[in-house]
C-alpha cells in the first residue's frame, strides 16, 4: 500500500504533477504503455492475450487545497479554495505552500480579543489570510500568485488498523490501482489517473471518448458516515465494514447489472461490502457513463472519515477488502 507516500504528496486540481510523477515512476514496470493527455490525465495500458470487453479502472490524482491569489503589503497572503472545503475546518490550521513547501498559518484573532458577535459567525474566506512570517510583501520571495497550498498533514498510523492523513480522497484510489496492476491478468485493461476531479470531474470528461471502454470502475476514498446516531442522519458507510458500493450519487445512477454482479462476487468470495448512502458526492464515473455510446459504470470505495479536511481516518482492513473485491471484479469482467 503506497497510500502512506501518496497521502503526503501535494496535488490540488491543476497541480497534479508531483502525484503524476510518483505514480509514473511506480507503475512503469507493471504496464505496457503510459501516456499523458492534454489535461494531464495519466493513461496506462496493460496488455493481455484474451479478447473480451474493454475495461477501465480509474482514480483521480487531485485533492482539495488552496491557491494563493494575492500578496498584501504587510506580508500576508490572500488565498482561495480549490474544490470543496468547508471554511469552518480551515481556521488556525498550518499549510505548506508552493514548490518549496513553505510553512504558513491561517491566523485567527485570539479568543481574548473577540467580541460576542465575532464568535457567532463563520469568517468569510476574503477576510482570512495566510501568515508565513514575512513582515512585508518584499519578503515574500519564494511564493508566487497562483501557487497552491496544502494542509500540512503527515500520514500516520493511529490506533490498531487505522491510518490518518490528508488527501485520502482520492489517493486511496491511486494506491489501490498501483496495487492492482502488480497482479497477473490474461486480458487487457486501462488504468487511468485523472486530473481536476475536485473542480467538476473535468479530467475524466475526455477519458471515455478516448478509450471507449465497455466497463468502467472508479476506485475512491469516500465519505464515511458512521457518526453518533442522530435521528435525522443516516450512518452509512461505516469504517471497518468493507468496501462501499454506489447505487446513486450526485453524478450518476450506477449500472444496475454491474452493481448486482459486484455484489454477487463479494458474496461468493466472502468479502464484506456495504451500500453507500444514496445521493452523496459524485465521481468521475458520472462523466465516463455519458461518454460515447454510454458506458456501464460502478464505484467501489473505501470509507474514510473527514475527507476534504486536514486529516482523515481509514481502516486498513477496508482497504485490503476493497483491493480484493476490485481485483475479483476486474477478473470477472475480463
Amino acid at each position: 500500500m503506497l497510500l502512506s507516500k501518496l497521502s503526503n504528496l501535494d496535488g490540488a486540481s491543476g497541480d497534479e504533477g508531483e502525484v503524476r510523477r510518483f505514480i509514473h515512476e511506480r507503475i512503469k514496470e507493471y504496464v505496457n504503455t503510459i501516456e499523458v493527455d492534454p489535461l494531464g490525465n495519466l493513461i496506462c495500458f496493460k496488455k493481455g492475450r484474451k479478447k473480451g470487453p474493454l475495461i477501465l479502472i480509474l482514480a483521480h490524482m487531485d485533492e482539495v487545497g488552496f491557491m494563493i491569489t494575492g500578496k498584501r503589503q504587510d506580508g500576508t497572503l490572500k488565498f482561495s479554495k480549490v474544490g470543496g472545503i468547508d471554511t469552518r475546518v480551515i481556521l488556525a490550521k498550518t499549510l505548506r505552500i508552493g514548490r518549496k513547501k513553505i510553512k504558513g498559518v491561517i491566523g485567527v484573532k485570539p479568543i481574548h480579543l473577540l467580541d460576542e458577535e465575532e464568535t457567532n459567525k463563520i469568517p468569510k474566506i476574503e477576510d482570512l489570510y495566510i501568515d508565513i512570517g514575512a513582515k512585508s510583501d518584499k519578503e515574500v520571495k519564494d511564493i508566487d500568485i497562483g501557487d497552491f497550498a496544502y494542509f500540512d498533514t503527515n500520514f500516520e498510523k493511529t490506533s490498531t488498523g487505522i491510518v490518518k492523513g490528508k488527501a485520502f480522497d482520492d489517493r486511496i484510489g491511486c494506491s489501490l490501482i498501483l496495487d492492482i496492476v502488480k497482479g497477473k491478468f490474461n486480458f487487457p485493461f486501462y488504468a487511468v489517473f485523472t486530473t481536476q476531479e475536485e473542480i467538476g470531474l473535468r479530467g475524466a470528461r475526455v477519458i471515455g471518448n478516448r478509450i471507449k471502454p465497455d466497463y468502467a470502475i472508479v476506485l475512491e476514498g469516500t465519505a464515511a458516515g458512521d457518526f453518533p446516531s442522530k435521528k435525522d442522519i443516516a450512518r452509512t458507510p461505516l469504517l471497518g465494514k468493507g468496501p462501499a458500493l454506489t447505487v446513486i450519487d450526485k453524478s450518476m445512477i450506477a449500472d444496475r447489472d454491474l452493481l448486482q454482479r459486484i455484489i454477487g462476487i463479494a458474496k461468493r468470495k466472502s468479502i464484506p461490502y456495504q451500500i453507500k448512502q444514496a445521493g452523496i458526492g459524485g465521481t468521475d464515473a458520472g462523466r465516463i457513463q455519458i461518454s460515447q455510446r454510454g458506458v456501464k459504470c460502478g464505484v467501489i470505495a473505501v470509507p474514510a472519515r473527514y475527507i476534504h479536511s486536514p486529516a482523515s481516518l481509514m481502516s486498513v482492513n477496508d482497504y485490503n477488502n476493497t483491493l480484493k473485491l476490485a481485483v475479483s471484479v476486474l477478473k470477472d469482467l475480463g
Binding site: 480551515i90 479568543i111 464568535t119 512570517g133 487505522i162 473527514y306
Partner: protein, 350 residues
C-alpha cells in the same frame, strides 16, 4: 539560536495541560541538571529552581507558567468522545485539529463533526460549538471504553514549524516561550554576578486559577516578583493603535498591577544595554501570574515582562526567537542590577 530553537521545540511539542504538567517539567528538570541548578517541587506541583546570590539577603522570584490549554473527555457517544475545554478556546478553531487523548495509553485522534453533506441543509452552515464536535480516535465504542475514561486529559498535537524571520509556529508557545526564556536566564546567571537569591518558578495551572503563582509566592515571599508570560503581538487586520509587535523585543507592562520602582528599573536596564523593548499599558489586572503574585501575603512588588506572540490560544501561535533571546538578556541583566532602592515606588514607599 539553534539551542534555543531546539529547546523551544521540545517544550512546545510536549503535552502539559493544566494540572498535568509532568512532561514539560521533566524537560525543564533535565535542562536545570545540565546547568547544575538545584530545584524542588512543592506540594501543588510547582517546579522551583534556586540559585543563591552573592549577598543572599534579598529574594527575587521569577514565574513562568508551564501549563497549557487543552481539553477533557466528558462522555462517551457511541464510537466517539464528547469533551470540554480546559482554558480559553475559540471553539470555532477546533474542527479538524489533531489531538492526543491521554487514556490508558496515548491515543492519537482528530476533532470531528458530522460533515455538512450528511446533514439537512439548514444545519450545514451553522457556527460549530463544542456540542457539535467530538474526538475520534478510530476505535469502536467497546474498545474506546476499555482505553479511555471520563476525565482523561486531551492535548493538542502539533509540531513546531519554522516560518520566515526566525519566527516559529506551534502550540503552547503560551507559555513555553517564557519557560524557554526562564531556563535560559539561569544559564545566563551562571555567567553574571547577582546579589539577590533567585527563585525561578515554573508555575502550574495559570490557565485555570493561578494556583501555581498564588501558592509559590506565598511560600517564597520574595522581595520582588517578575512574571514572564506572552502578550498580543500585532496581527494583520489589527487596529493601527495596537503597537506591540513581534521582533521588537519584550513588552514591559505599566499599570496598577505593576510596581513603578521595579518597572522604571527594568526600563533603565533595557536602555542602558540597548535591548529593544516595548511598553504596554494595562489599566486592570494583567490576567497573568503577575496578578496573583502582587496580592500574595502582604503584597509583593511585581512586574510583568511579556514575549509578543500571534494567534494566542490556537495551535498555530507564532513567536520570534529573537524576542525570546532579548527577554532572557533583559531579565538576567535586571537581576544582576537589582537593588533595594528599586522597591521604593510611589505606592509602595517605605
Amino acid at each position: 539560536m539553534d539551542e534555543l530553537k531546539g529547546l523551544l521545540k521540545r517544550l512546545s511539542e510536549t503535552e502539559g495541560v493544566s494540572a498535568s504538567e509532568k512532561n514539560p517539567k521533566d524537560i525543564v528538570k533535565e535542562e536545570l541538571k545540565k546547568l547544575a541548578i538545584s530545584f524542588k517541587e512543592d506540594r501543588v506541583g510547582n517546579l522551583i529552581a534556586f540559585k543563591r546570590g552573592r549577598k543572599s539577603n534579598r529574594k527575587v522570584m521569577l514565574a513562568s507558567h508551564i501549563d497549557e490549554i487543552g481539553l477533557m473527555v466528558t462522555s462517551f457517544d457511541e464510537n466517539v468522545l464528547r469533551f470540554s475545554t480546559i482554558g480559553g478556546f475559540d471553539e470555532r478553531i477546533l474542527l479538524g485539529l489533531e489531538v492526543i487523548v491521554h487514556g490508558k495509553r496515548p491515543l492519537k485522534g482528530i476533532i470531528g463533526s458530522i460533515p455538512p453533506h450528511f446533514l439537512p441543509k439548514e444545519k450545514q452552515k451553522k457556527v460549530l460549538s463544542i456540542e457539535d464536535l467530538f474526538i475520534d480516535v478510530g476505535l469502536s465504542g467497546k474498545e474506546l471504553k476499555k482505553n479511555v475514561e471520563v476525565g482523561n486529559f486531551v492535548s493538542l498535537k502539533k509540531n513546531l514549524e519554522e516560518l520566515l524571520n526566525e519566527r516559529h509556529s506551534g502550540k503552547s508557545l503560551d507559555n513555553r516561550a517564557s519557560v524557554t526564556a526562564l531556563i535560559s536566564i539561569f544559564e545566563e546567571l551562571n555567567r553574571v554576578n547577582h546579589n539577590w537569591d533567585v527563585y525561578g518558578v515554573f508555575t502550574v495551572q495559570e490557565e485555570i486559577t493561578g494556583l501555581g503563582a498564588l501558592s509559590s509566592s506565598y511560600n517564597i515571599f520574595p522581595d520582588a516578583g517578575i512574571a514572564i508570560d506572552v502578550g498580543f503581538g500585532k496581527q494583520s487586520g489589527f487596529p493601527s493603535e495596537h503597537h506591540v509587535e513581534l521582533d521588537k523585543g519584550p513588552t514591559i507592562t505599566i499599570g496598577p498591577n505593576i510596581h513603578p520602582g521595579l518597572q522604571n528599573g527594568i526600563v533603565k536596564i533595557a536602555k542602558d544595554y540597548e535591548i529593544p523593548y516595548q511598553i504596554e499599558a494595562e489599566s486592570g489586572p494583567t490576567g497573568t501570574d503577575a496578578s496573583d503574585i502582587q496580592i500574595s501575603r502582604s503584597g509583593i512588588p511585581t512586574i510583568l515582562v511579556s514575549i509578543p506572540i500571534l494567534y494566542m490560544h490556537t495551535p498555530c501561535e507564532v513567536v520570534s526567537l529573537k524576542d525570546i533571546g532579548r527577554t532572557t538578556r533583559l531579565i538576567s541583566l535586571f537581576i544582576s542590577h537589582l537593588n533595594v532602592d528599586m522597591l521604593k515606588g510611589d505606592k509602595y514607599a517605605t
